[in-house]
């Protein structure tokens, strides 16, 4: 059975290779091949899962050693896999949700000429992410990590003819690179500290290592996680990444990529447990991002960007939980899985809405769509209820546990974190209700926009047929798109309950991550009740603002905070002023120093030598008699000097 582990990666990798190298003759069937191989990977995952369930809970980890990559004495890099409960959870999520997104893409990308290539990239994405989660050492994890970065670059910039998409892809790649540097430094530090980077030895040796070194490694790992998981301060790429096709957003936000940071921190739990300072940093990053993303999500009118803000915020919850140590690891992963379901569902729903609305993304030009897209409405609605934590649905169980764990951290810190998490829950309820109301309820604002278009109300039929300014005809999406949404909706509804009954998920992950209940100052019931209370407040606020009153089609100017949030809380402006301008000034001053100082010294030396020799050259006038004079003069001076020395 263990020999199957490698095939998890091999199947989608094979798909990527065949689809990308296969050429045009695969255009007709390529997408089904890609989907089939993703599904094959899922089937292998399920087989391994069943096999794993048969084992005793402490002997569930499976290993496969494929080959020695760099066998040098003192430096052993292996391509070896380790599949334990944590990896298993990720494998099932990635392949399961990934396969559904593949199926959805078949319909979504139907009219795209480059659909085969798109599926090749999707398969590459899956392969890289699977490699990341089943690697048994940090170096191989790094390979997967970079692979994810590459695949995300290719997919975000898939419509590269749009300059905005090309820029967004570059931005995502560059910001990720900053995080990657963190991971590579962490791996180097590990190697110098422990002499190896295999998970087992590294994580066992943390007890005997100095705290300073562990803190350094932990902070570098956090930097890496910030890059991939779009946490403050490396969050800026996530919003722009919406330029990619919607299935890509779903894949990046739900199953792959952004979850990598949470995986990294949970996997390196032993390091963080032994470095409280690094843990504090993790918690701080999580808490800040949680609020940051939520605020951004409140202000965006672009449905995908609002969801992107939401992802940032939800990942913030996970990072926060992972930073809490053994109290939180399990819940971080649990929220990750439930989030995988409902966020994939929400994004696919958003894609379905866009599909029916001529690729319009501005929610202010939606409204009242529930009549026209019943399936999308129901699945999106279930995802919505799950993400705001409606009692009984997935998000409720996982988020509630994280808030509880935050309080259980103890002391002032616990109160601050718990309060932040509760506030985040309220804002989540607010912005998701806003998305829901703007899209599916209210008056049908898309009718207005069509007549209001600059082309006169007597829009000639020619404009209609061209499709420009034409009134959209919202319609339900084809089956290949709705079926994955229905499946994900089931996950959004039932996954949380399934995991929570009898603490199944806790028992499942406990052997890997450890678990600790902590001592909460509040009882579980109090936390649950307050979570529900803030949820009601958030929904009510959104209803008051967007449900009761008609929504203007053109966004009002808004308060200072709203305007800042529309600009992603000035993250790009900050980056531009501090990093871009700063970098420009730095390079300019370096160039100046180079020109004036370095070149000055070199050129000055050359010029003075040249000038001096120019003068000396005049002595060589070619007249033998003047040479004779200098000879006599020189001799006279020598003799005089000799005599003088004698006299003295």
């Amino acid at each position: 059975m263990e020999n199957l582990i490698g095939w998890l990666v091999a199947a989608p990798l094979l798909g990527a290779a065949v689809l990308l190298c296969g050429g045009k003759r695969l255009d007709r069937l390529g997408h089904w091949l890609g989907t089939l191989l993703a599904a094959a990977s899922f089937v292998i995952g399920v087989l391994l899962f069943v096999d794993m369930l048969g084992e005793d809970e402490h002997h569930r980890a499976m290993h496969q050693h494929l080959f020695s990559w760099i066998p040098v004495s003192g430096f052993q890099a292996d391509v070896a896999f380790q599949l334990d409960q944590l990896s298993m959870t990720f494998v099932l999520l990635i392949t399961g949700v990934g396969t559904l997104i593949h199926i959805y893409s078949v319909g979504y990308m139907e009219h795209d000429d480059r659909r085969r290539r798109f599926f090749g990239y999707l398969n590459l994405f899956l392969a890289a992410m699977l490699l990341l989660v089943i690697a048994d050492n940090y170096l191989l994890l790094y390979v997967g990590w970079e692979g994810v970065g590459l695949a995300s670059y290719l997919l975000i910039g898939f419509w590269q003819h749009k300059p905005s998409a090309a820029t967004a892809a570059k931005k995502a790649f560059l910001v990720n690179r900053v995080g990657d540097v963190g991971l590579s430094i962490a791996i180097m530090l590990m190697f110098t500290t422990f002499g190896t980077f295999t998970f087992g030895p590294v994580l066992e040796a943390t007890g005997e290592t100095g705290e300073g070194k562990l803190t350094a490694i932990g902070l570098m790992l956090l930097l890496a996680a910030c890059g991939k998981s779009a946490q403050v301060p490396l969050q800026s790429w996530l919003g722009d990444a919406m330029e990619g096709p919607t299935p890509v957003s779903a894949l990046i936000h739900a199953a792959t990529m952004v979850t990598a940071g949470v995986y990294l921190i949970t996997r390196s739990g032993a390091i963080f447990n032994a470095a409280p300072d690094a843990q504090t940093a993790v918690v701080a990053v999580g808490a800040v991002t949680l609020i940051f993303g939520a605020i951004v999500g409140c202000a965006k009118d672009d449905i995908k960007k609002a969801l992107a803000g939401s992802t940032m915020s939800q990942i913030g919850y996970m990072i926060l939980a992972a930073g809490l140590g053994p109290i939180g690891y399990v819940f971080a992963i649990m929220h990750l899985v439930t989030h995988g379901f409902f966020k994939a569902g929400l994004f696919l729903g958003a894609g379905s809405v866009m599909h029916g609305m001529n690729d319009e993304v501005d929610m202010r030009k939606y409204g009242g769509l529930r009549k026209y897209m019943p399936i999308t409405f129901i699945t999106f609605g279930l995802g919505y209820l799950a993400i705001i934590g409606f009692p009984g649905l997935s998000g409720f169980f996982s988020k509630d546990k994280i808030i509880e764990a935050a309080f259980a951290k103890g002391g002032t810190e616990g109160w601050i974190l718990g309060g932040t998490a509760l506030l985040g829950a309220a804002i989540t309820a607010y912005y998701m209700t806003r998305v829901m109301l703007l899209t599916f309820f209210g008056e049908e604002r898309w009718r207005k926009t069509a007549t209001r278009s600059p082309e006169a109300p007597s829009a000639e039929p020619a404009a209609e047929t061209r499709g420009e300014h034409a009134e959209p005809h919202p319609h339900e999406s084809p089956k290949s798109m709705t079926i994955p949404m229905i499946v994900l909706a089931f996950g959004s509804v039932f996954a949380g309950g399934l995991f929570s009954v009898g603490d199944r998920f806790v028992h499942w992950l406990e052997p890997v991550t450890g678990h600790d209940h902590g001592d909460s100052p509040l009882s579980a019931t109090t936390v649950t009740l307050s979570t529900v209370a803030v949820l009601v407040v958030g929904v009510a606020l959104a209803w008051a603002q967007y449900g009761r009153k008609p929504v203007p089609v053109v966004a009002p100017r808004g308060s200072l905070l709203t305007r800042a949030a529309r600009r992603d809380l000035l993250q790009d402006d900050f980056n531009h002023v501090v990093l871009v301008r700063g970098g420009e000034h730095l390079t300019r001053s370096l160039v100046y120093v180079d020109h004036k100082l370095v070149d000055g010294v070199v050129n000055g030396t050359a010029a003075s030598v040249g000038g001096l020799s120019g003068r000396l050259r005049r002595l060589q006038n070619g007249y033998a008699r003047s040479y004779a004079v200098s000879m006599f003069g020189g001799t006279a001076v020598l003799i005089a000097a000799t005599l003088l020395m004698r006299a003295v």
């Binding site: 070619g622 007249y623 033998a624």
Partner: protein
């Protein structure tokens, strides 16, 4: 006769030779003046040899004569060649070795 007088004579001859080298333009004359300076040196050597009562100076004079003979051979040959090619024996005319 006091040998110091020979030294005065040598100094006088050397000065005449040096002045000739510096002031005259005719290569033959310059050449002769060089010979004059060499011979003044020889005279000084021999005088010092006499004054100090050893033979070192006289041996040195022989060396000088050998060098002078070799120099005459080469120097005259060069002067003749220059005269042939440039129809001039002036040392100032042969001033091509400059930038």
């Amino acid at each position: 006769m006091n040998p110091i007088n020979y030294l005065y004579l040598a100094a006088l001859l050397f000065t005449i030779g040096a002045a000739g080298v510096l002031l005259r333009r005719n290569a033959i004359v310059v050449f002769m003046c060089i010979e004059l300076m060499l011979n003044a040196c020889n005279l000084a050597f021999v005088s010092f040899s006499r004054m100090h009562g050893n033979l070192d100076g006289q041996i040195m004079a022989f060396f000088t004569m050998v060098v002078a003979a070799a120099e005459v051979v080469i120097g005259l040959a060069i002067i003749v060649m220059i005269f042939r090619s440039r129809h001039s024996a002036s040392v100032d005319d042969a001033s091509l070795m400059k930038l």
